[in-house]
Amino acid sequence: MKYHQNLLLYGVLAGLVACTALLSGCGLTSAAKDESLSLSAVFKLRSLAKVEHVALSSQAAAQSLQYATLKAELDVGEVRALLVLAKNAASGQQWVGADGSGFTTWQGRITRYYTPALDLSRIEISPLYPQYGFAAAFQYGRISAPFELDNDTEQRFQVLGKATLYYDGKQPRMYWGKPTEMLQFSERIEVPSTGFTHVNYYWLDPQTFFVWESQQKWWPQMPLISIQVLKPWEAVRYP
């Protein structure tokens, strides 16, 4: 009887071993193998967090990073992380942190914010505003546009807001230990249905109008995020 029990146990164990081996090999199609490759690539990307001190030590070190990278700091719990570019599309750049949380940006502005606690799946301003807003505000002093926001977490969709962008003038900012003159813009956010108002900030290179740094918050429960581009996703001159 005992022999049969042992045999059954060995059978189950061996079956598991065999199934595991087979699942990891012949059971995968080419598509599934591609996926596992991309997952391992993402794992490598995530290990970048360990080299944060290198990326922040000098501009050359940041430039030498393998992937487009942002530094993001949250005002809640003093969270600081490096986020790598997961996807670059015409509609924007998707940035993902080590825990899968992240956001997408377009023209330096957050268009999607995702954590398990809060998912703002769409922050959409008239397309002309992100594209030409900084130039227009720089020339005319300020520009306004309505925006719509979807909050998947609270199941609220098409929440209306208004953004007004102001040019504040030139401001020195410190990048890699070096004072750098940037164009500062402030953006007043109003979401009347939640009573939320906030002022976002953006710092642009005067030559390229590229957004190198920003502080953004689009919803009462969203933490204030400070973003600095360490390695851009497109060919652009460092400030």
């Binding site: 059978g11 087979l22 199609t29 599934a32 993902v96 899968g100 995702y114 199941q155 609220r156």
Partner: protein, 263 residues
């Protein structure tokens, strides 16, 4: 270390026992049909080698900006038998409630509910549905395997919410309105209980919320979602405990969650 021949023998026998499993796993990859409908450049069909991850499938679609991901559906024939059973059981229970109802008004309401459920198709929708690319790509548990023919329905964002147990069957969606606000604006039919409702969100998520002046709960329902008022407990008592209210509404809300947003 000496390994006995009996030990080796057991392992050989064990491996032989596991062979039938191996044959199944090592079967040649199958091709599955993937169809995209709705807010895509044009309805498109792809033949994809299975198993394949959901993220890889969704990347095939040329999705338009109008797509309402929150109400998107993944339809599989494999889900249909269970959903057909659910529909049949639900219709039987409504029939029992019609028998138990004393007033003609309530009987009429229940017959309308019966007809509504009967007219709803067995869709095969996977619920709760989460096809949002950001979440699918960054949350491994959401990036499920696609192993059978599937239809992905990407609807436009609806402009209305739907109601059961209320005078109006549909109302326009406003992002500023809470579940309580809708409950106050849409009169409850007689025989339905005040104070709380079920909500079936457009993604198939089922919730229960307090409503009315006595609650500060600020819950919202997404466009295309349902607000369902419960019938009074006395009707279920009249069925001689053949139907429990909780069980009935569990089935009804699960059924509504399987419905897709209409074009």
């Amino acid at each position: 270390m000496r390994v006995s021949s009996r030990f080796i023998g057991r392992w050989i026998v064990s491996l032989l026992l596991s062979l039938p499993f191996s044959v199944g796993v090592c079967a040649p990859p199958q091709t599955v049909q993937i169809v995209f409908k709705g807010c895509v450049n044009e309805p498109s069909t792809y033949a994809v080698q299975s198993p394949v991850r959901l993220s890889a499938v969704l990347e095939l679609a040329a999705v338009q900006d109008c797509a309402y991901w929150h109400g998107a559906s993944w339809l599989k024939a494999g889900n249909q038998p269970e959903q057909l059973k659910l529909k049949t059981a639900l219709l039987e229970e409504v029939n029992l409630l019609i028998e138990a109802a004393e007033s003609e008004t309530l009987q009429r309401h229940l017959r309308i509910l019966h007809d509504q459920i009967e007219a709803m198709p067995v869709t095969g929708r996977t619920v709760p549905s989460d096809l949002d690319m950001f979440r699918v790509e960054t949350r491994p548990l959401k990036n499920r395997l696609v192993v059978e023919d599937s239809v992905f329905w990407l609807p436009k964002r609806p402009t209305q919410l739907y109601f059961l147990g209320f005078e109006q069957g549909a109302m326009d969606y406003f992002s500023t309105q809470t579940v309580s606000d809708y409950w106050e604006k849409n009169a409850l039919k007689p025989d339905y209980e005040k104070g709380w409702v079920y909500v079936v969100q457009a993604n198939g998520k089922i919730e229960k919320h307090k409503v009315g002046y006595w609650t500060h709960e600020q819950a919202y329902v997404a466009p295309g979602g349902w607000i369902v008022a419960p019938l009074k407990e006395s009707l279920f008592d009249a069925t001689d405990d053949r139907i429990s209210r909780d069980g009935f509404y569990r089935q009804l809300t699960q059924w509504l969650a399987t419905q897709v947003i209409q074009p």
